[in-house]
Symmetry: C2
Subunit: 300 residues, 2 copies
């Protein structure tokens, strides 16, 4: 089978590459740790060729569609943000000149919002993937991770979005703050549920519920996993409270199938929200298909 | 002048020692970096003698009164927490056996609260210092720092207290999170005031106001110091919102004379609160005087 085009998800830490046939089916998948964070601008083409060269034709050019941090200012070439509202992954791709004449590289732009100021880069392609599967989706997409994205989607467009640093906050508090002495391994669903509930019932108070996780360990002997589950539930509950204006009374699609996404689904369902799930990798692939089709139209 | 007794503030990072005369006036002050955090239990006596030996008598014993983390479980000898409500630094001191017969060492206990679980160790001595200066104090004491303590004080006792990890959160977010790329040097009072106001007006939403500090730097060119001031104001505002049940409609005494304490005074006054200031070192000394007097009564 001969590849027809190549799709890439080029994040800060990893480069993932898929060789696709003419119908957009995945022929092969490759991955390296040459994320944007470890590359100087001049090193991107070689990092791409390392994974892509086996799929390149003897003559002619291979379209390569890239989403993610490779388009950041410190990346390969800046793909300026598109302001919302807009249709994701459908326009604004930036052509990247290459030394190798067999490559025809485009990087997709991220999305920006003026007020409140916000940006995303990479997640817009997953959102485009959801819209490819369900063009009439009218609701909210939640993309859990280090920086969680909440996007209001309707009419085929991203209407607005917000970012929470919950994943990063959890890691900093659990691994580097004084709470690291008390947040051990293990997990307790009841403790998580109660902490989500408490945070939503009294969102202003969650700051005051952090240090007690340490004090409880000093004064008593909490069951294993309780502190970790309460820290996680408190942070996710505080995030849900802050984002309530976005998700309340709307169906929420979670893009992600990992344990973290399970927690968001659990917390949202506890609040009576209708939650659907989407696989993150599949949504990235579908979004890249949309982007490739849009680029083919422009250039054909 | 001959020392009559010795007071120590033995924290995690530092040991501060004062040689006092019979009237409780400071004769000499010494300091070392032999904090509790770098000492094994067997090393405490030598660390004390390094600073104290010049003040020890040729014969007889020298009373040494210690507050702070030296009394933690991982310290020199554990001084179990006293549950509130209680009078701070007046009882519960633990005698520490020493190899050197010239030393008569006592470590003061910290305070604990069962629900919500909380602990303090060291701050209770500063609170005792405030009560020595103003025995009838009826209000709230705020002790800014890495872990900020808020104590309800009335009738000569600590009635209850709460800890916020605001100082530690600020350091983690400003120095180690993605915000480090945007939180530069400089300061902007207006940005701080506005962030405090926003956090108090919408405490549930402050989680959603973190990442915009990064996005604003990517999308625009904020004035120097704005991101730092807004991060600080947002965190202190969120803390004031969480602690409102403690400080609202009560006079607040801030123990601390540093720039951080200035911010708490500024934020509280913005909310119409009557704020008085106390020097932290002076309050520690006064609290140690109270503890020394109580120990002398017991042992005389």
């Amino acid at each position: 089978m001969t590849a027809s085009w190549i799709g890439c998800d080029w994040g800060t830490s990893n480069l993932r590459l898929w060789a696709m046939d003419a119908e957009g089916r995945v022929l092969e998948e490759r991955q390296s740790e040459n994320g944007m964070g470890r590359l100087q601008p001049g090193a991107f083409e070689a990092a791409l060729l390392e994974l892509a060269s086996e799929f390149l034709p003897a003559s002619g050019t291979m379209p390569v569609v890239i989403c993610g941090m490779a388009g950041a200012r410190q990346g390969w070439r800046e793909a300026p943000y598109l302001p919302v509202p807009c249709t994701p992954a459908a326009h604004g791709a930036v052509h990247v000149p290459t030394a190798d004449p067999r490559l025809s590289v485009h990087i997709l732009p991220g999305l920006s919002q003026a007020d409140p100021a916000d940006v995303m880069r990479g997640e817009e392609t997953q959102i485009a993937g959801v819209l490819r599967e369900d063009p009439g989706f009218d609701g909210v997409l939640c993309l859990p991770g280090t920086h969680v994205k909440w996007a209001r989607v309707a009419g085929g467009q991203v209407q607005g979005f917000a970012t929470s640093m919950t994943g990063e906050l959890f890691a900093l508090l659990a691994d580097q703050s004084v709470l690291r002495h008390s947040v051990g391994a293990g997990w307790n669903d009841d403790a998580f549920d109660a902490a989500v509930h408490d945070a939503l019932a009294d969102p202003a108070g969650w700051v005051s519920r952090l240090f007690p996780l340490r004090a409880e360990a000093l004064l008593g002997d909490p069951a294993p996993g309780v502190a970790r589950s309460r820290l996680s539930g408190g942070l996710i509950g505080a995030e849900l409270a802050a984002m309530r204006g976005i998700w309340q009374d709307r169906p929420v699609g979670i893009v992600g199938a990992d344990a973290l996404s399970d927690l968001y689904a659990r917390a949202l369902r506890q609040e009576g929200t209708t939650v659907t799930r989407n696989d993150a990798r599949e949504m990235t692939l579908s979004g890249l298909r949309t982007a490739h089709a849009a680029l083919s139209e422009v250039t054909s």
